[in-house]
């Protein structure tokens, strides 16, 4: 559903220039997108209400109140009957004013949700117009007195409020047709300032009317144009309805804008009835006009309510979509969790299997080795040299198998054990490793040096194993004629928001091609034959497994003939 809130609609637009051709491009001009249209019933009813009273009047129905002069003696009831016009007028006007109050209240609550400043501004304009009407009504009901005479005051204040209504609506809407956009943050300030401006003008007019001694005549019952002052708002509303409102509805499409456009129709009808129809107070056209004025307020109110409902529905829809998406995410998260626990279980089973398999394989292997020994010692070399040779080879294989199984067991045990992570001193660990490798170190005349090493978060025995393996390798793979040198250095680095110690173990051994940098960490992968260097190829795989269990990483930089540098990342 593509519903753009009015806020989104007020994206920076280039100024739509006032061109005559815009007015005459009727199709384009009055086109309103579907989501901003008013229900057809409302449009039809409005048009009907504008036309029907006129037709009914032609058919002879009179909506006016009695204009007979009052008899000499009046009962209270008589008085009320004679004042019926005034009462009708007051009721009609006050209904219009009430509708205007509702509009402005709803406009502000609409603003609080959508931050769209068009609605409150126009709402305030409507309210000011309504306030003018209220003033006029209070004058008409003699609830307030002014300096001038009432027979002039009432029609003058009517004319005034109509002209004011037309102007303020044009100004209120016209504000938004300028090219400059008002930033939403400054919206509230703008609304307050504009409202104050409208109110000030309104008050000024009221004040002037109330304090002027002579007010111009506004009723000319015998002319064709009975109330010439109503021609001004008539023209203003025609301009509004034909040009300003449609332009506004294009720029800031919303149901409210469409309703505003539609409200031009009853406004024009009001003016037509007053300008050309009403000859005196409370006659048929007078009452019809006042009734239509209510309609003119109610329609924008209805538009605003529908906008409100629309906005609310959209929010609810969004909420539902969010809820659905959230639920889907939850389900997905649950699935992932389940998959994870299945994986973890599977891993545990694999490790257990590796452990059990290696363990159970040891038993028959032991027998093979034991009986191999027996066989070896019972075969006489001089008699059966070939058989002895076969047996020897068989025994070698058995020995090899034993180392593989031992190493596999060691490897699988790395995963099984409980890790007690605490701060451990690498200095101490390295000291232990060097101690235990003393024999090999002195054999190879090796030199091991390291700077002050940090304490890291880890498991002591496991880290000992890592460095034992690394140092053993460096010693094993040292250059034949050169004394082995191992240097260990450390450095702090940060990856994202995690802090690590980077430990480098550099040797000057035989090195290897960098392309094998990943391969050597694999289980039982070696770069040399058994005859060249002993070992099963499990040492680095164990290192990698341990380091990864520490949430760290291990990698290597090496050059054939130069040496290797193992780089470990361990958590601080």
């Amino acid at each position: 559903m593509v519903f753009t809130l009015a806020k989104e609609a007020s994206c920076p637009y280039a100024a739509i220039p006032l061109k005559y051709k815009d007015i005459f491009m009727l199709n384009n001009h009055f086109y309103i997108a579907e989501e901003y249209r008013l229900p057809r019933s409302i449009v039809i009813v409005t048009v009907a209400l504008c036309i029907i009273p006129f037709i009914l009047q032609l058919l002879g129905i009179d909506f006016g109140n009695d204009a007979q002069p009052a008899p000499a003696t009046l009962t209270t009831d008589d008085m009320f009957y004679h004042l019926s016009g005034g009462f009708t007028h007051a009721l009609l006007e006050w209904s219009a004013f009430t509708a205007a109050i509702f509009v402005v209240l709803l406009a502000f609550s609409h603003y609080s949700i959508t931050n769209d400043i068009t609605t409150p501004i126009i709402g305030v304009a409507l309210f000011c117009a309504g306030a003018m009407d209220a003033f006029h009504t209070l004058a008409a009901t003699r609830l307030i007195t002014a300096v001038a005479e009432n027979k002039d005051l009432i029609p003058f204040t009517w004319a005034l409020s109509r002209v004011f209504n037309g102007l303020i609506m044009l100004i209120g809407v016209g504000i938004f047709l300028r090219s400059k956009q008002v930033k939403p943050e400054k919206g509230l300030t703008f609304i307050i300032l504009t409202s104050l401006a409208f109110a000030a003008v309104g008050y000024l007019l009221i004040y002037t009317s109330a304090t002027s001694h002579n007010l111009p005549q506004t009723q000319f019952p015998d002319s064709f144009i009975r109330r010439p002052y109503d021609i001004v708002p008539l023209i203003l509303f025609i301009i509004a309805g034909l040009y300003v409102y449609p332009l506004f509805a294009k720029r800031y499409p919303s149901i409210f804008a469409t309703a505003l456009l539609l409200s031009a129709l009853p406004e024009i009808a009001v003016e037509a009835h007053m300008a050309f129809g009403s000859q005196r107070l409370f006659d048929s056209d007078f009452n019809v006009a006042h009734f239509l004025k209510i309609i003119a307020y109610v329609i924008p109110l209805a538009g605003l309510v529908m906008d409100y409902v629309q906005t609310y529905k959209v929010q609810v829809n969004h909420l539902h979509q969010l809820q659905t998406a959230h639920d889907k995410l939850n389900t997905r998260a649950l699935e992932i969790n389940q998959a994870n626990s299945r994986l973890a279980q599977s891993n545990a089973e694999l490790e257990k299997f590796a452990y059990i398999a290696s363990h159970d394989l040891q038993e028959p292997l032991r027998k093979i080795q034991a009986f191999g020994d027996r066989l070896h010692s019972t075969i006489d070399k001089s008699v059966n040299e070939k058989s002895l040779d076969y047996v020897s080879r068989m025994q070698n294989s058995a020995t090899r198998m034993r180392s593989l199984i031992d190493d596999l067991l060691k490897f699988s045990r790395v995963g099984n054990q409980e890790y007690n992570l605490k701060q451990v001193s690498l200095n101490d660990i390295l000291a232990n490793v060097i101690d235990d490798l003393q024999l090999s170190i002195s054999e190879k005349k090796a030199k091991i040096s390291f700077d002050e090493l940090p304490t890291v978060c880890g498991e002591e025995k496991q880290l000992y194993q890592v460095f034992l393996n690394l140092f053993s390798n460096s010693l094993k793979f040292s250059k034949p004629e050169t004394a082995a040198e191992i240097q260990v250095s450390s450095q702090q680095i940060s990856v994202g928001d995690k802090h690590y110690w980077q430990i480098k173990v550099q040797d000057n051994g035989i090195g290897f091609e960098q392309e094998y940098a990943d391969k050597i960490f694999e289980v039982f992968q070696r770069l040399h034959g058994r005859s060249q260097y002993i070992g099963t190829g499990i040492g680095l795989a164990i290192c990698k497994k341990i380091v990864e269990k520490h949430n760290g990483s291990i990698s290597v930089q090496s050059e054939l003939g130069i040496g290797s540098c193992f780089i470990l990342l361990l958590e601080k």
Binding site: Q362, E363, R366, K367, Q369, A370, F371, D373, R374, S377, R402
Partner: protein, 149 residues
């Protein structure tokens, strides 16, 4: 020093016939004349030691000088029979040497707790087995004084 070392027998309780064979061979290889007999599980061992059926024919004969005990056996395993022997007034004084493939720290600790005299992991090569038998017999029969049975 035992006056009559040849009368003392070694008894081995192990379900694996290969291991029984190897130990027998090792004794020969070490040129030891010590007699050795076998049972295959804890239940049989108890029957043997108590001279119950099917070992009634052993009645009257002295109990073995030492027992080599395997841990992992069917019917009744080494740990169970060890506990039973060490709680039996008549039998508890016989030195027991656990001879097993299990390297588990747990087993070592627990069997010592139960009063085992020694814990040996079965040697891998035959040579080592011979050495072990030599050491055991030297220690327990020549060096050490055994209680009278």
């Amino acid at each position: 020093m035992l006056s009559d070392s040849t009368a003392v027998t070694i008894h081995m309780c192990d379900d694996d016939p290969d291991d029984q064979l190897l130990v027998t061979d090792a004794l020969h290889e070490a040129k030891l004349a010590t007699p050795i007999d076998f049972t295959s599980n804890g239940k049989e061992l108890l029957q043997y030691l108590n001279r119950e059926a099917p070992y009634e024919h052993m009645k009257g004969k002295p109990l073995p000088g030492i027992i080599l005990l395997d841990l992992n056996m069917p019917v009744m395993d080494g740990r169970e029979v060890l506990a039973k022997i060490k709680s039996n007034e008549k039998l508890k004084s016989i030195p027991i040497i656990v001879l097993t493939t299990s390297k588990a720290e747990e087993d070592i600790a627990r069997t010592y707790d139960m009063g085992v005299n020694s814990f040996i992991i079965k040697p891998v090569s035959f040579e080592n087995l011979v050495e072990m038998i030599q050491s055991v017999t030297d220690y327990w029969f020549s060096l050490v004084s055994l209680p009278k049975q």
